[in-house]
């Protein structure tokens, strides 16, 4: 491909995505369907604008799936896994096995051979993580029992893809012969050595992740150059992919393992938010390629077969899910939701299908048929959610979204502290002493490292970034404390939070009066001037040393404090009307104003109620 065509292709892909994805999201179809529709639009079925074959593009875009598994691995904190262990293994395992056998059984009855039938069963067993999780979160079903069940099943499916990728080649009619595309030195070794090498590689990833990558990331992070950190993240994933292909294992498995190993590290959020845009774009490209490869001629020629297949697969999957839900004691309405939510075939089917086609496990015309069916089943999912809300929930619905078993959810921390320097750590320690759960974000990797060692839950990253805040649970937290040093960054954070997490209450630290004004203009109500309380305590002690009674000095400081807070608000309003040019002149002018108005303050002396002069004057002289 020469440069000109490359740019042209890029233009076509990007503009199709940019045009169709927002439209699809608006229409409630979700971004994945948007990408698929974009693919259909530019593919041979409609405008026919692409010269590359969809399957070639898909090959490149599969790297996005590797990244997706890396991210899934990063999200699998061992503690979260442990809490959900029963439903993950029980519900998820049962769903996968029953679905595979049900579908494969039907396929055999329809006259296919056993190997092909099993392959088809595996391919359609998984559901769409991307579509379902996004919908659960958007509609607030995530915390219901059905939502938790769906999450567990999806998690298990994500993990199950890895053994599936390993088993699928065994189902190939040509199995036993090494694939020409994977001709490398490992596969030429005897079987026992191959196994040893593979196990060794997995162990190596664990050890490298724990003892090499983390210190390395620390060094990179301390260089404070953002893009180098991003480059390191990419390097990590590319390196693993290459290593795994060399030893003949799935790169997705390697990436997943690396993700799990790094899930407990302080760089979890940062790694995730660095890889996220690449993952998103490549997955987008992947779905576009799916759209391009949908064989519309097939659908037009055999509409009954295609739609029959879709209906059949979805019905079988829903039935299996319903039985699993029944077994795990979901209410009827929850169970119906659970069954409908997961009965589509997921994006992994595309990966498995293209893999199966390359490996000649499934004949090309069957893959075409299945590709089309999978895409249609995904397109139907938003419609099923609508069906549930409009019809089923009305009739059976007794459970409000939000109802859930108390221990079913790994609870997110209610407080996020951004910046854990002297200021932040004082608040943090205070809250921790009262067992208030806090998630801490900090940009200083040395400090993060140290604080983690002494048992704080601290993450490394730039807290003004939306994706990092999201990763830290800003959607579910109640309060965020902005305690970072940099006033500019604080304002950026305020903007980001107000825009993307409007429900989150913001408490913000301020140094100077100027910062305070800026923050007031940004709509902040809870502003904490770091100098105010310390300065007043100094004032109290000064008065004490000069012979004033301690309590009187203390009361005077209290009065001054509430007066000063009020004065700040008043002056902020005045200041807004006047543009200052010279900041130092501004400071002096303002100080003058403040000192002038200090004189009008309610007497700093003793409270009138404790004053006896009036009483003495009125008392009858005896």
């Amino acid at each position: 491909m020469d440069q000109q065509t490359f740019y042209l292709e890029a233009l076509v892909y990007l503009s199709a995505a940019v045009l169709l994805v927002p439209v699809a999201k608006k229409a409630g179809l979700g971004s994945i369907l948007g990408y698929i529709l974009a693919g259909v639009l530019i593919g041979p079925a409609a405008l026919n604008l692409v010269t590359e074959k969809g399957s070639d593009v898909m090959h490149v875009a599969e790297f996005g799936v590797v990244m997706m598994l890396f991210v899934i691995g990063l999200e699998l904190e061992p503690s979260l896994l442990w809490k959900l262990r029963k439903s993950i293994v029980g519900m998820g395992g049962l769903q996968i096995l029953l679905t595979i056998f049900a579908i494969a059984g039907i396929a055999v009855l329809l006259g296919n051979n056993v190997k092909l039938s099993l392959a088809i069963g595996m391919i359609v067993a998984s559901s769409s993580t991307a579509i379902v999780l996004q919908t659960l979160q958007e509609k607030g079903y995530f915390k219901t029992e059905a939502g938790q069940g769906s999450f567990s099943v999806l998690l298990f499916q994500d993990i199950a893809v890895i053994p599936m990728l390993a088993i699928l080649p065994l189902l190939s009619p040509m199995s036993g012969r090494s694939h020409p595309g994977h001709n490398n030195w490992v596969l030429q070794q005897p079987g026992w050595l191959q196994t040893l090498i593979m196990l060794g590689t997995v162990a190596a990833i664990f050890f490298a992740g724990r003892y090499l990558v983390r210190p390395f990331l620390r060094i990179v992070a301390s260089s404070q150059v953002r893009e180098v950190f991003t480059a390191t993240t990419l390097l990590l994933v590319v390196g693993i992919t290459l290593l795994m292909t060399q030893v003949g294992l799935s790169p997705a498995l390697g990436a997943f393992l690396a993700g799990v190993v790094l899930a407990n590290s302080e760089f979890r959020h940062e790694l995730k938010s660095d890889i996220e845009p690449f993952k998103g774009l490549l997955l987008g490209l992947f779905f576009i390629a799916v759209g391009i490869t949908i064989n519309f001629r097939l659908i037009v020629n055999l509409p009954w077969l295609v739609f029959g297949l879709v209906a059949g697969i979805m019905a079988v999957k829903a039935l299996v899910l319903f039985c699993v839900g029944r077994l795990f004691r979901l209410n009827l309405d929850q169970n119906l939701f659970f069954s409908l939510a997961l009965c589509q075939v997921g994006e992994f089917a595309f990966v498995l299908l293209s893999f199966s086609r390359q490996e000649n496990i499934i004949p090309a015309n069957t893959t075409d048929l299945l590709m089309a069916s999978v895409a249609i089943s995904m397109a139907l999912t938003p419609l099923l959610f609508l069906l549930y809300e409009k019809v089923i929930q009305r009739r059976f619905g007794v459970t409000e979204p939000g109802d859930r078993k108390a221990d079913a959810i790994p609870e997110k921390n209610p407080v996020i502290i951004a910046g854990f320097g002297d200021f932040g750590n004082t608040v943090g320690r205070f809250l921790k002493a009262h067992d208030i759960g806090t998630t801490i974000l900090d940009i200083d990797s040395d400090r993060v490292d140290f604080l983690r060692k002494i048992g704080f839950k601290v993450y490394y990253g730039d807290a003004s970034r939306r994706d990092l805040l999201e990763a830290a649970g800003a959607d579910e937290a109640l309060v965020i404390l902005i305690t970072i040093d940099d006033p500019q960054k604080r304002l950026e954070m305020i903007e980001t939070i107000k825009k993307h997490f409007p429900r989150l209450k913001i408490l913000v630290r301020t140094r100077s009066r100027n910062d305070a004004y800026d923050q007031m203009n940004a709509g902040m109500l809870n502003i904490y001037r770091e100098t105010l309380d310390a300065a007043l305590r100094m004032g109290i002690d000064t008065m004490k040393m000069l012979g004033f009674r301690t309590y009187s000095s203390f009361r005077a400081a209290q009065t001054f404090r509430s007066y000063d807070e009020k004065a700040l608000k008043k002056l902020s309003a005045i200041r807004d009307q006047k543009q200052y040019i010279n900041t130092s002149r501004e400071f002096i002018e303002e100080l003058e104003k403040i000192i002038q108005s200090d004189r009008s303050m309610r007497s700093l002396a003793i409270e009138k109620g404790w004053e006896e002069e009036g009483l003495i004057r009125e008392s009858p002289g005896d």
Binding site: Q558, E607, G609, E611
Partner: protein
């Protein structure tokens, strides 16, 4: 319609059994203001101007608090000391509160019978409230009989609910001026006007 101000003082409301239920029953309506002193002034730094304005804009002031050592929690005393200023609330020119009414809604661990010459506390409960009563009278206000819940250490949840309902009935009646002077004069506690089974009162 009388405008009612409930000045509430409880340093550990989260642990309270009786007061937490009483305040739940305070009707939410235009002419009843609930003012939580410990929540507003954790540092005891009472905003005198604001408190005086509140007094001026209400007709009946109810101090609601538990009894600690025969008196209110310290913020009540702080409030009295600072807000009822000489020359404003009392003294030659202190007439701001003239004609208003004050009463107390208190809880006590001791039973009704223990507040008796023969009992542990030696005197009737209203006699312990004498300093409040006189303070109120010096400020040119009427002092009405208190609303009392006795025996709060051992009281059952049902009895708490009955008292809470009684409290609500009293507030509604006060707000609607439904209690005659004769009825008021005839009662020992304000509770007597809204009777509940007598076994509970002991």
């Amino acid at each position: 319609m009388a405008r009612i101000l409930v000045l509430f003082a409880h340093p550990t409301l989260e642990k309270s059994r009786v007061h937490s239920q009483l305040i739940r029953q305070i009707p939410i309506q235009q002419n009843i203001t609930f003012h939580d002193l410990y929540e507003t002034y954790p540092d005891f730094h009472i905003d005198i101007d604001r408190e005086q304005q509140l007094l001026l804009s209400h007709d009946i002031i109810i101090f609601q608090h538990p009894l600690y050592w025969y008196s209110g929690p310290p913020i009540i005393k702080q409030w009295l000391d600072l807000v009822l200023e000489h020359g404003w609330a009392y003294g030659a020119n202190g007439t701001a509160l003239t004609g208003k009414v004050t009463m107390q809604a208190v809880t006590s661990g001791g039973s009704f019978d223990s507040y008796n010459p023969g009992g542990k506390h030696k005197q009737k409960l209203p006699e312990y409230l004498a300093p409040f009563e006189n303070t109120v009278k010096i400020c040119n206000m009427d002092y009405w009989p208190p609303f009392v819940v006795h025996g709060t250490h051992r009281i059952s949840d049902t009895d708490i609910q009955l008292h809470a309902t009684q409290f609500k009935q009293m507030l509604l009646s006060l707000a609607a001026d439904r209690i005659s002077a004769a009825e008021r004069a005839g009662c020992f506690y304000m509770n007597d006007l809204f009777p509940i089974p007598s076994t509970i009162q002991s």
